[in-house]
Symmetry: none
Subunit: 401 residues, 2 copies
């Protein structure tokens, strides 16, 4: 990949506009009866027209054979090395609930759980308590101060919450308290580095105080913490690419990711049409839009081939609204493949199409996995997409003399 330092030294502000449309889990596998993937089955006249006038390819989100989670897959699309920039679980949890994580904060995922009289975990989720109960319990634990460290507790969903330790000199290099099995006691949080000794001590004190506070809140009588992590220190997309980027995303985790790379996260609704409308309404204010459609991945994970086809067809209809805006670059791709046949994310490369006045068209006439094999972008690491996008938007200076 082209280094972010090089891109930063070459990028320039210009009036051109870019839309990155990510159909989550876009890539698929052929249904045995037809030999066609979800994308090949879907009727996509508008995407096919974009593919025919643009340049296509297949991308590897992390590397050949590697099945990515959504977070590294998106980091790669934004141009960041997905292995180096891999984000801790705690951070992912909290950025997904619109929490403004500060540099230096240490965050962990938490479960409200139940332990028996011997102190052994007998339900890691305390019967999946209702989210309202979670809100109530978080309010009880929120705001403690231990050794000058402020402890913020925020509900996520059901038994899940996030806890933020805010203060000087904290480190995320501590072990989980969650034993990840029943019949075992919660573990003592231990420092994995010398500098993390105080953080471990504070985390253990927090757990002890929480146990006292939770008395009388059956079925919950304990908490489990895991995935201690800190906000990564990255340059933002504004710094690297000199873009003013906006994210149109309804699903919480991706909103959090977009915020971590410095995008403005716009308010939008849940439906595909609503997201497209939000983009159109805000089109004048930004020069880069990350538009994220979750439904295709969800259908793939459910093994619902036909629903994934339907989501893709719906996007194809809505995409005419984007074409009408005449952006300088439209890229349509997925973050990874989620074949309905596998009911899961997979390692298969992801179709990419890049449409721009300045692309050199290839022979690809339709947007499909099979057709993209012959595309002019070839098979490329997903981290290369942003530099190609920037180039086609005429936002990169010449390198060297």
């Amino acid at each position: 990949m082209v280094s972010l330092d090089l891109l930063q030294s070459l990028s320039l502000v210009s009036p051109t506009k870019i839309i990155l449309l990510v159909i989550d889990g876009l890539g698929g596998l052929p249904r045995p009866e037809t030999g066609k993937t979800e994308l090949e089955t879907a009727k996509t006249p508008n995407l096919d027209r974009l593919a025919a006038s643009g340049v296509c390819g297949l991308s590897d989100p992390v590397g050949p054979g590697i099945t990515p989670g959504s977070s590294p897959a998106h980091m790669a699309l934004f141009g960041y090395d997905p292995v180096i920039s891999n984000i801790g679980r705690g951070v992912l949890e909290i950025v997904g609930i619109d929490f403004d994580l500060q540099p230096g904060d240490v965050v962990a995922r938490g479960n409200f759980c139940a332990v028996d009289k011997a102190g052994l975990v007998n339900d890691r989720r305390a019967g999946r308590i209702p989210s309202e109960k979670c809100v109530e319990l978080c309010r009880l634990l929120d705001g403690l101060v231990i050794e000058n460290v402020e402890i913020l507790v925020r509900p996520v969903r059901e038994h899940r919450f996030a806890v933020v330790f805010r203060g000087e000199g904290l480190s995320s290099e501590v072990s989980d308290s969650d034993p990840q099995q029943i019949g075992a006691p919660p573990k003592i949080v231990s420092a994995l580095a010398i500098k993390a000794a105080r953080t471990a001590r504070i985390a253990n004190q927090f757990v002890a105080q929480a146990e006292v506070i939770l008395v009388g809140h059956f079925p919950v009588n304990m908490i489990l913490l895991r995935g201690f992590s800190q906000r990564p220190v990255w340059p933002t997309m504004g710094e690297i690419y000199k873009l003013t980027p906006a994210a149109v995303v309804s699903y919480p985790m991706y909103r959090g990711l977009a915020r971590l790379v410095g995008m403005d996260v716009l308010s939008t609704g849940n439906g595909i049409e609503e997201e497209f409308r939000t983009l159109i309404q805000n089109y004048k204010k930004y020069d880069f839009f990350f538009l994220h459609i979750k439904g295709a991945d969800a259908a793939g994970e459910d093994g619902d081939f036909d629903r994934k086809v339907a989501v893709i067809e719906q996007v194809d209809q809505a995409v005419t609204g984007l074409i009408r805006l005449q952006p300088d670059v439209i890229v349509v791709t997925g973050d990874h493949s989620t074949p309905a046949l596998l009911h899961a994310h997979s390692w298969h490369p992801v179709p990419v199409l890049l449409s721009s006045h300045w692309c050199r068209p290839d022979g690809v006439k339709e947007f499909s996995e099979l057709a993209c094999i012959d595309g002019g972008l070839g098979r490329l690491p997903a981290t290369n997409i942003m530099s190609l996008v920037m180039a086609h938007a005429l936002k990169l200076k010449k390198f060297g003399a």
Copy 2:
């Protein structure tokens, strides 16, 4: 390439089985009269069927334009960076004769040679003495102890032998004694690093003692040493991929290579059918098989186009025996190209086919250099093959959340 650290963190044990069939020197160049390469000339209905249902591509063993030796080419196929993991000549020589090289051993290749009265080399190979004579002379030199270092001498073939220095604190950073020309005296072995001073001194004492011992063994009266090296410290394939790998290989050097990456090297015969039979007989005991066919490379090096075609056709027949085993992944490729037209290894990329229930088929209908250009694997570094193989065998966890 995907780093071995990342693969090690993602790999998992599973009951799926993998066969990597390496047709040594597979890639070729077209015969001018027909415009077809060896592989394109061969009748390969079974490989074509695998290609049609699988996914194909062209691989670069070391890098575009680089002609590899067999050792780096195989290391790349096993997923190791072929430049970083390049193996010293001494080590290659000794692992090819089933010698159990220990960490810390320093090994060199040796020649029995002839020097004139002035001490100048007049035959680097002493008239290629018969192998039986080599065995006899090695027995005379074997077992010396110099400065607490044990010296083991093993015959290889004709005038060639290997010498192993075994003891504490040895280093392979010493120069050759072999001047690589006649009319020059053998060189003094010199330390190339301070820590290697003792090793150089011991090597020179060994040469001096050998000269005395060899008196009266005309035409041999001296030895030449070169390629001092040590066993590399690599993680094994078992450690990286959590596989239980076996090698079915008749040619000694490849048996040694397979042992260096931790494979069980099975006893087998010299013929293609015998090798396939050995694999089939041992199929239950392992989950990864490296099956190596030497004949195509040997024919290519001899410039014998038709014999190379015949070897490929013989493999095509035998491959039905593998298909019947229904392994989860079959990969058929070469370690490098050996076009009969060049009488040598070459830099041309190597056809690869990967057949698995989980591959996304491309439009390739036959296994040939020309057809593989349009394959779904694209043009890939050979080091990427193992991560793809592991993915298609469902032996890799998801990376990140």
